[in-house]
């Protein structure tokens, strides 16, 4: 005989596994600090590549416009400005990334805890 309560619980579990469950399980494989650090590292790498492209383009324009005065170009000044912008970008993206990925991890953990609670109820019914 089919138990309605059991079907309802299994349906909830199956819906979760089909949707957010896959990503939540992957997220839950890490400790929170490791997950946030790894995601921030990927983000910072991406931002660094983007800034290298922007600074490269900007410096190329400066260089081409001052082709005959390249010895008089203040390379230290440009280097310092680029370094400061890069550092500020790193700090900003790390703050945003930490807030975002911490929140994502907490939500995933809460959903997995609900999933485990439903599993326990299902085990008691069986």
């Amino acid at each position: 005989m089919i138990k309605k309560e059991k079907v309802k619980l299994m349906t909830h579990l199956a819906i979760y596994e089909q949707n957010e469950g896959k990503e939540d399980m992957k997220t839950n494989e890490y400790y929170k600090s490791n997950y946030v650090s790894f995601q921030n590292f990927k983000r910072r790498l991406g931002v660094t590549i983007a800034l290298i492209l922007i600074f490269g383009g900007h410096f190329s324009i400066v260089f081409m416009n001052n082709l005959y005065e390249m010895e008089q170009l203040d390379y230290m000044k440009y280097g310092s400005v680029y370094l400061i912008i890069w550092l500020v970008a790193m700090v900003v993206y790390t703050i945003i990334g930490t807030m975002k990925y911490s929140k994502k991890y907490e939500k995933a953990k809460a959903r997995i805890d609900d999933y485990k609670a439903i599993l326990n109820r299902l085990n008691k019914l069986s």
């Binding site: 089919i2 079907v7 299994m10 199956a14 190329s60």
Partner: protein, 309 residues
């Protein structure tokens, strides 16, 4: 009013029941519109302008995750530019990579706004953008809206950009730098773009703040305020910056935008946005094929207690 609410209930019930069919069809239609508009505008690669190619691409987009749509759109743009100018394709490719690394990577869901902005401009519905963004996403949407507006205004400089070409392979680096400089100068001096970005940002913030207030009809007041601020700010900007702008188009566009937002809000007031699900599982005795349809929970007015001392 009761009749309208009943109609809404019917629409929402139908939508939730058949969402699995409706979503791919909606994605197909929207992506087809985007690709047709893009191919008509760019039109450098004959094969990409073939309607069958557009339909095939739209069919692919209908069944893949949403993030891939942005990548496919970038590929279509890149392909057209490749046929027009290798340097332009390279430069635009680098710009798209920068946008992806700096923004789309960290906020993939909001990146749909970047594509929606030029599309809505093409449909002359661009005044809906800041109202919709402010009401549904908040100040965080200022960045993708600004990127979308920049992309739209940049498209006007594309013919000028494509005129810069290199005669030999060794000239490519110099051509790239000239193109980059042309692009930077054009965008930084475009007052219309600057005005649009500033006004849209102001409207987004104001609609968001009013929506958050604990007053009756806050959503309606937010839409009305957004429309009025949009009109006034653009008129002030037109006078100060001496930008070309049609006042009649501005007023009509904003009235239509207000109407569209009102209809959208009417249908969006449904809590717990979950879709119908089809799941298959088994136990020791049976295989289960289950279709779960979510119940509609309408947002009830919250009771606010005012203490008068």
């Amino acid at each position: 009013m009761t009749g309208l609410l009943e109609i809404r209930e019917i629409f929402i019930r139908l939508y939730k029941r058949y969402e699995r069919m409706i979503m791919p069809i909606a994605k197909f239609i929207i992506s087809l519109m985007v690709f047709f508009k893009l191919n008509n505008f760019l039109n450098y690669a004959d094969k990409m302008s073939n309607p069958l190619v557009n339909i095939a691409l739209a069919l692919i987009v209908a069944f893949i995750p949403g993030n891939w749509f942005i990548l496919i759109t970038m590929l279509v743009i890149g392909t057209h530019l490749f046929f027009a100018s290798l340097e332009a394709a390279l430069l635009i490719g680098i710009c798209m990579l920068i946008i992806y690394l700096l923004y789309i990577g960290i906020a993939p869901k909001l990146s749909y706004i970047i594509i929606a902005v030029p599309l809505l401009y093409g449909l002359n519905l661009h005044y809906t953008i800041p109202l919709f963004a402010g009401l549904f996403f908040g100040p965080i949407s200022i960045i993708p809206v600004s990127i979308g507006v920049s992309i739209f205004y940049f498209s006007r400089y594309l013919p000028g950009l494509l005129e810069i070409s290199s005669k030999e392979l060794t000239d490519i680096p110099e051509t790239l730098i000239s193109m980059f400089q042309y692009l930077m100068n054009a965008l930084l001096q475009d007052k219309a773009m600057l005005l649009t970005i500033i006004v849209f940002a102001i409207v987004i913030i104001i609609t968001y703040v009013i929506k958050k207030l604990e007053i009756d009809y806050n959503w309606a007041i937010a839409v009305a305020a957004g429309v009025i601020i949009n009109i006034i700010a653009f008129i002030i900007g037109k006078v100060i910056l001496r930008v070309e702008l049609s006042i009649i188009g501005l007023i009509f566009g904003n009235i239509i935008a207000g109407g569209i937002l009102a209809i959208t809000l009417f249908f969006s007031i449904v809590l717990d946005y979950s879709k119908a699900e089809k799941v298959v599982f088994e136990d020791d005795d049976y295989y289960y094929y289950v279709k779960a349809i979510p119940k509609i929970k309408i947002n009830k007015a919250e009771k606010r207690v005012k203490r008068i001392n």
